[in-house]
Point group: C2
Chain length 388, copies 2
């Protein structure tokens, strides 16, 4: 059953090989001062930076910059961006990069005119935004997070050992996002496959919850099957436009609020993964892959019907002559094989987690009231140990 | 492959049993003068009219009305609505009804300030809108058309024997739509199942085109499976909230532009069905069901791979030991069985089409450049004859 909900997604998307030129349609809608935020400089090597700067100049914009946005944007970097945005009274924040850049742009957007410490207000306490927000636009160069069409923003506080995501309302969604699948071709394989698993996990986090018959589950099964198919092609042939364009589109719809409409969700793999990220600074998607199998095997007996359905509808397991538990486990085994095939990190040791860190990681894990099996701190430690 | 496209859908949806009260959130955003458009009066019997009028009064609105919007809204009715909207200088058009009411509201929205004959400009010539549009909101009481979240509007001109749909841009999309599945419970079975097939056909019109591997096709397979499942339940138990809520949600996503992103589409069942509607005034969904099997069997050999995929992924046909054509036909046969099970009209005689009308219906059929098998006028006559 679909519970009651409101759906609104105002982000305009420009998708395709020529989509960067759409900046010319969007820029005139905003004032003259643009804050350009980007990461480690790969956009300078591949020429995207120069193209963006030229379009900004053609549109008469005054540009200030925040370069060096790191994969897990920190609270110190957030403060720096807010200072620059305020000093320059920027009218638009343009993120050019992956999910971290988009997340960061949204964090700066809501935090610049926040009258108290934005980490405390918007991340630690997750309060509603009640100050002016600066409009955000995105040019996406990596896929996975879905940040290009949602209100999510994840910020890491290394001192507090916390990595916290806040899902803001639709006034914080990017006003527009530009998606060119070809921009994703040059990403190193490790980051590429980590992004693929981030997408898959966004879907399974929302799928493995609830027992109702729900159209959202059917949509997610379709997205998963398309993702499995295209990611296998992209692993072998990263410059396959067909596969990369499908993956880019799946990433957007996996986490732009649609598939969560009218249903409960889980998100505990992300909560444990983010805690690992806060302690190790490991690549986000790999923190998810490393704990997923232990987590899903832990909750499977409590959501058996859904895990059985997952095995049959997503992994084509033939249920004949098997118990529900056997069918469910065969589905999880096929998922595990697929993850190994992609080359994902399948244990947390490889991410730098040591035995003596487990208690601290568990302390950093936010516990949600999930549907199948609400976790205790002890459960988290058990899952972490099984992921070593 | 996903071709280049732009996606933008600004309609805000309020979904669920209490969603009507969301009118209180939306109404303050618009001026004082509201034009209420509705159909034959069922909303007066079931109390929805009184509830809406009360909320409009509570929000201090001055209300003018266009009652009697018919199932296939006519050009004469359009002129009447434009006159009333102009005389009352309305700030918002509120449609309360099914797809015809929503379509009609959008037609009045673009036509009221059109300086020439809006039928000629926006339907016969399908020109872009270059005059002010009046904002539209919808309270949906029937599902099928998807009109609550798109820019489509179909108007019938009985004199010209033409029924033409124009897909307007996102400035014509409803600003908000209120979707309460319980409002759909009391619809007579004939209209209910016609709506179910309208939804299915919206999906298949977009599915049966293209040979590329495309995420949109996977999403459509998910929507179709959910629709088949829930419509079988609703046929037996029309007040089943779970089934009706899923169907309402599928209808919206079947035709709000998402599944067409990056792919070619077909739409010839709708073109032939609309021509039949122009000559008979038959229920829209039944004009589609009556010609579908003949049409799909006509184009199947030219899009065999997709029809094979449809059979396997949507209708669970086992392909082992069968030719592609056999697999494809088995899928179409299961679809035909399902349509008979719902009680759809499966021939055009039952809709009032006689042998001597076939030439004229063919003349009223707009021929699109479709992908698998572009139709000639002779093909249309052949399909009509096979549908007798």
């Amino acid at each position: 059953m679909l519970g009651n909900f409101t759906y609104s997604n105002p982000t305009k998307l420009y998708f395709g090989e020529d989509s960067l030129k759409s900046l010319n349609e969007e820029l005139p809608k905003y004032g003259e001062r643009v804050l350009l935020v980007y990461g480690g400089g790969s956009i300078k090597k591949n020429g995207i930076y120069d193209q963006v700067i030229r379009i900004l100049a053609d549109n008469g914009k005054t540009v200030s910059e925040v370069p060096g946005v790191m994969p897990n944007p920190t609270v110190e970097k957030l403060y720096e961006g807010c200072r620059i945005a305020k000093e320059n009274q920027v009218d638009l924040i343009l993120a050019v990069g992956g999910g971290s850049c988009c997340d960061y742009a949204k964090a700066v957007s809501v935090s610049t005119y926040c009258e108290e410490d934005p980490w405390e207000k918007y991340f630690a306490r997750m309060e509603d935004v009640d100050n002016p927000v600066i409009p955000v636009g995105c040019v996406l160069t990596m896929v996975g997070t879905g940040s290009e069409m949602n209100g999510g923003s994840v910020i890491t506080n290394h001192e507090a050992k916390m990595k916290i995501g806040h899902i803001f309302g639709d006034n914080v969604f990017p006003k527009f996002s530009i998606l060119n699948p070809a921009y994703t071709f040059t990403l190193p394989e490790y980051q590429m496959v980590a992004g693929f698993y981030d997408i898959m996990n966004h879907i399974t986090e929302q799928y493995f919850s609830g027992t109702d018959d729900n159209t959202s589950d059917y949509i997610m099964e379709g997205l998963l099957k398309s993702l499995i198919h295209s990611s296998r092609i992209a692993k072998k042939d990263p410059a396959n436009y067909e596969a990369r364009s499908n993956i880019m589109w799946i990433a957007t719809w996996a986490l732009n609020t649609l598939v969560a409409c009218g249903k409960t969700t889980d998100w505990m793999v992300h909560m444990i993964g983010q805690a690992i990220g806060a302690h190790t600074n490991a690549t986000h998607g790999m923190t998810l892959s490393a704990v997923s199998m232990a987590y899903y095997r832990h909750i499977c007996p409590y959501g058996l019907a859904k895990f059985r359905r997952f095995a049959i509808n997503v992994w084509d397991v033939n249920p004949e002559g098997k118990t529900d538990a056997e069918v469910a486990e065969e589905g999880l085994k096929r998922m595990e094989d697929y993850m190994n095939e992609l080359g994902l990190v399948m244990n947390i040791k490889e991410l730098g987690v040591t035995e003596d860190m487990l208690e601290q990681v568990a302390d950093s894990t936010i516990l949600f009231q999930t549907d199948y099996k609400p976790l205790t701190r002890d459960d988290v430690i058990r899952i972490l140990r099984a992921s070593m």
